[in-house]
């Protein structure tokens, strides 16, 4: 119908069509290329910073979570303590200070010689450390409506004469303890109640609770009566607070997770588009002959895979546990390739890959063949979310089954891709799906070891997202099988 001469004529004419683009085009291109380079550099930097911050956060959580409950209560009490004492505060004397002592309802407080108490109270407070300070506060500072440390030492030689910070309420080496009649001092009564929850040195600490939970800001400006009332309430709330802390049985716990095994590429949907997949540029699992006919395309063989990361768990009930984490997961597969066809050393797609596999970066393309083995490396940052169920109630060998999913982001890869048209393997990180959704399941056995809870067991993980973003090449999914180990340091 058509005379091809017309098309030929048009084609010849159009071959010579040229224009000079404006300067802005190159400026924009240059800007975009430079920005892309900067973005990549920034990404590499921030991904390590982010990982470091999260790791440090997890370690911090682990550190504080591992502390005993009583210590936690003490920390809390210290947090609400009034303003620190100063030697200058200790120099306050006279009726005001005396009235403060009287406000405790204890006429037994005997004023000490002010001159000696000034120096000794200050010294006692300053050298006794946290506990001495606490004692000093308990001895009278808590009843000061101004919230500042009052010169209790001036009227209470107990603190002044107790530089080691021995507790006021213990009374053995404390003359003020003798002054504090147990029947007269309701706070001492409260202290006794609290001391029933602890023993030894801890009992002394617990006895400090009531004044420490007293909120100086609340009492400030309300007079002594209000201060006393607040102190009464605080001593009661101290009991509630302590019991509340002790009842918290399912806090977040941090630990570490590691695992090792084999990773392989699982290929699906080949039956429907096999011909298309084979004719297109295949990834390295293609199994047909190349155009040259001499070389062959390698199968993809499984290779080692391992992962490590941080782990957070929270008990939802006696049997159910929620697990979160962040892992760096390394996958690898092995292929056989021929000679390199280029000597170009590319800018690595991954800092990790370039440092670990420099030999793999020596060429960008290889012909298909059986001259050498090549390992494809993939590095993923994974954020797993799992639900764990305890199958039995055994404390010796508890059995768990868990399932969940993880969101993974490709951090780097030096994998080779096979191009059936050119018959070469080449590196092309752009064809990889960088964000992956995986499902995983594991059966774990609990192994308590010197207070450290260890869980270990087989794990299977499957990538729901195809590895390659070109569907014509057939969907390929990562399949990881291995052993997973979780270590959660126990509470002291």
């Amino acid at each position: 119908m058509y005379d091809p001469k017309f098309e030929k004529g048009v084609r010849q004419k159009m071959e010579g069509l040229e224009f000079i683009p404006s300067e802005t085009v190159w400026a924009n291109v240059q800007k975009a290329v430079a920005n892309r380079h900067r973005r990549r550099t920034g990404f590499y930097f921030w991904r390590f910073v982010l990982s470091g911050v999260l790791l440090a956060g997890a370690v911090a959580v682990l550190y504080y979570e591992a502390k005993p409950v009583a210590d936690g209560a003490t920390v809390k009490k210290a947090g609400v303590s009034p303003a620190p004492a100063t030697p200058g505060a200790a120099s306050v004397q006279g009726s005001a200070a005396h009235a403060t002592s009287l406000s405790r309802g204890t006429a037994t407080v005997s004023p000490a010689p002010a001159g000696t108490a000034e120096s000794s109270a200050a010294a006692g407070h300053l050298t006794a450390g946290a506990r001495g300070e606490g004692n000093a506060r308990r001895a009278g500072g808590a009843f000061d409506p101004t919230g500042a440390f009052r010169p209790v030492g001036a009227h209470n030689p107990a603190v002044a004469h107790n530089p080691a910070g021995a507790h006021h309420a213990t009374g053995a080496h404390n003359s003020a303890g003798a002054h504090n009649g147990t029947g007269e001092n309701e706070f001492a009564g409260a202290d006794e109640q609290l001391t029933t929850t602890a023993s030894g040195e801890a009992a002394s600490d617990e006895a400090v609770i009531a004044p420490y939970l007293y909120m100086p800001g609340l009492a400030r400006g309300q007079g002594n009566a209000a201060a006393i009332k607040a102190a009464k309430l605080s001593s009661k709330s101290a009991l509630i607070s302590l019991s509340t802390i002790q009842k918290t049985k399912r806090p977040w716990e941090a630990g570490f997770v590691a695992g090792g095994g084999l990773s392989r590429l699982n290929r699906v949907n080949l039956s429907s588009n096999r011909n298309q997949a084979l004719s297109a540029s295949l990834y390295n699992i293609a199994n047909g002959p190349t155009s040259s006919g001499k070389n062959y395309v390698s199968d993809v063989r499984p290779d080692v895979s391992f992962m490590a990361g941080i782990y957070l768990q929270k008990g939802l009930s006696s049997r159910w546990t929620l697990n979160l984490g962040m892992n760096l997961h390394y996958y690898s597969t092995r292929i056989t390739i021929g000679q390199p066809v280029s000597t170009y050393v590319p800018v690595s797609a991954s800092l990790i890959a370039s440092s670990l596999a420099p030999s793999a970066q020596s060429a960008t393309a290889y012909i298909a063949g059986d001259k050498q083995n090549f390992t494809n490396h993939y590095y993923f940052l994974e954020l797993p979310v799992n639900i764990q169920y305890q199958l039995n109630k055994s404390r010796l060998l508890p059995l768990f089954v868990e399932g969940g999913f993880s969101l993974a982001r490709l951090m780097g890869s030096d994998a080779l891709f096979y191009n059936s048209h050119s018959g070469v393997y080449y590196k092309d990180p752009a064809v990889l799906q960088k964000t992956q959704l995986n499902v995983s399941s594991a059966v774990m056995i609990g192994l308590p070891f010197h207070g450290i809870r260890i869980q270990a067991g087989p794990q299977v993980q499957y990538g729901l997202t195809p590895l390659i973003n070109n569907h014509s090449q057939g969907d390929q999914h990562f399949l990881y099988t291995g052993i997973k180990v979780v270590i959660v340091p126990g509470r002291k």
Binding site: M1, Y2, D3, K5, F6, E7, G9, V10, R11, K13, M14, G16, L17, E18, F19, I20, P21, S22, T24, V25, W26, N28, V29, Q30, A32, V33, R36, H37, V341, S342, Y344, P346, V347, T364, A365, N419, H421, S422, V424, Y426, K427, D428, A430
Partner: protein
């Protein structure tokens, strides 16, 4: 020019090499982009996006073909994507029956200059324009065009026949007007 070395230098991030590559291919590639679009501004937009894609994917160039051909394919793909994305071109890319033109068997000799012929091609409706460019100039088959544009092979074939007839009629008109008035009249 040693394209091997030029590509290597570009991949190393050498700005001078990148500019050299751009300057070497920008002129003819702008001609390609110009044929697919309706204005020089759009053509430069396509050229810009195309060269960004070139530098982004340069590591994929395996030296098995000509660098110019590889860049040209990127430009064509970028241009087609631009037409699909840009609302000004979308309506005419629907290939509705209402916009069809009659087919003729005329076979004029192409005596117009390169730029005159390019101008006439650019006056074609975008759907016709894309198919005519892809088939008559780039040499794509109708099967390939169908895949690229997401239409049936038969549609591509018929659209091309109509585009060709329309262009030939314009060439006649333009030649006639040019003989009489020696000025260009928009068809």
């Amino acid at each position: 020019m040693d394209y091997h070395q030029l590509v290597k230098d570009c991949l190393r991030g050498d700005p001078a090499a990148q500019k050299l590559l751009y300057e070497h291919f920008a002129g003819p590639m702008l001609g390609v982009c110009y044929r697919y679009t309706k204005s020089m501004v759009d053509a430069e937009d396509v050229l810009q996006e195309g060269f960004i894609m070139v530098f982004k994917n340069l590591h994929q160039f395996t030296f098995t073909g000509e660098l110019g051909g590889w860049i040209r394919r990127i430009m064509i793909n970028t241009a087609i994507n631009y037409l699909k994305k840009n609302s000004r071109y979308q309506t005419d890319l629907l290939f509705t029956e209402g916009s069809l033109h009659p087919v003729s068997d005329d076979d004029p000799e192409v005596t117009l200059s390169t730029k005159e012929l390019a101008e006439l091609i650019r006056q074609l409706p975008p759907g016709y324009q894309a198919i005519f460019n892809l088939h008559a100039i780039e040499g794509y088959s109708h099967v390939e065009i169908g895949k690229i544009l997401g239409i049936k092979e038969g549609t591509s074939r018929s659209q091309y026949a109509r585009a060709r007839s329309l262009l030939i009629s314009w060439i006649y008109k333009y030649s006639a007007v040019n003989k009489n008035e020696s000025t260009y009249v928009r068809p």
